[in-house]
Amino acid sequence: MPSDLNWNLDTSELDRIIRDADTNTDKIVRKLAFDGERYAKEEAAVETSAMRNSVYVVTSKEDHYQQAAQDAKSKNPGVQTEPHPTPGEGEARFGPCVDYAIHQEFGTSKMAAHPFVTPAVEKIRKEFEDGTTYREMVEK
């Protein structure tokens, strides 16, 4: 019998995960935001297409507001737009920038809601929680 027992802990895989964590987080957040934009555009009610065109992503590194606002105004010149707040490092925001989108999403006292952002959030939540996004972005 051996006189002592030794464990050799190989941390190389753990080191790799920690080393890549910031990069992977950024990639995953960015993918979730762009998936959210796509799903919201698929679900958006369309009359002039301005609201659908106004859905955009902003991250700490890129901002598609000017293009989205221009695309919305090309379909409805009178529409008012407002940019999303600037996200912090490792964060992303997506959603419409036309002023009336909130009334479509949540309805009013006299109009039913026609949600398109909440369903998009639910879809990306599901993909994040079941590991689909991680597998696509990190394990491919």
């Binding site: 949540f106 009013t108 006292s109 006299k110 109009m111 039913a112 909440t118 959030v121 639910e122």
Partner: protein, 134 residues
């Protein structure tokens, strides 16, 4: 109506502390209120979600938007929202054919819109996650 719609309506309409704040004891509407409905009233509607399809049972994960509208004041709408919260948040709904194992308020919202008469109508409500399984 799906099973959660019925459960929500039963729970809300059974709350006398809630209905006593509304225009009538039946001023609770699904999707939208009729044009002739008097204020205040409650509206609930499915905002997102559906079957999870991750196991053999019929697991459902829904987000409902339950809100109060009041033409009197934001405080009035908020007081009704507080009663809705007391009936739903962390409570167990009776859902026919299912077990409700999770009902929570996840987000709170406030806003106002204007009637054609320029009278403001105040909204106070929240997004509730309701999870059920067979």
């Amino acid at each position: 109506m799906n099973v959660c719609d019925s459960a929500l309506y039963s729970t809300l309409s059974g709350g006398t502390a809630l209905t006593s704040l509304l225009a009538t004891a039946t001023s609770i509407y699904h999707i939208r209120a009729p044009n002739v409905a008097g204020y205040p009233y409650v509206v609930f509607s499915l905002q997102a979600g559906g079957p999870e399809n991750i196991n053999p049972s019929d697991l459902g994960n829904y987000v409902y938007f339950v809100r109060a509208y009041s033409a009197a004041s934001a405080q009035s709408a908020g007081a009704i929202h507080a009663q809705i919260r007391a009936l739903l948040h962390k409570k167990t709904l009776t859902v026919t054919g299912y077990t409700n194992f999770w009902t929570v308020l996840e987000s709170e919202l406030e806003s106002a819109d204007e009637l054609s008469s320029l009278t403001p109508v105040f909204m106070s409500g929240g997004l509730y996650r309701i999870q059920i399984d067979t």
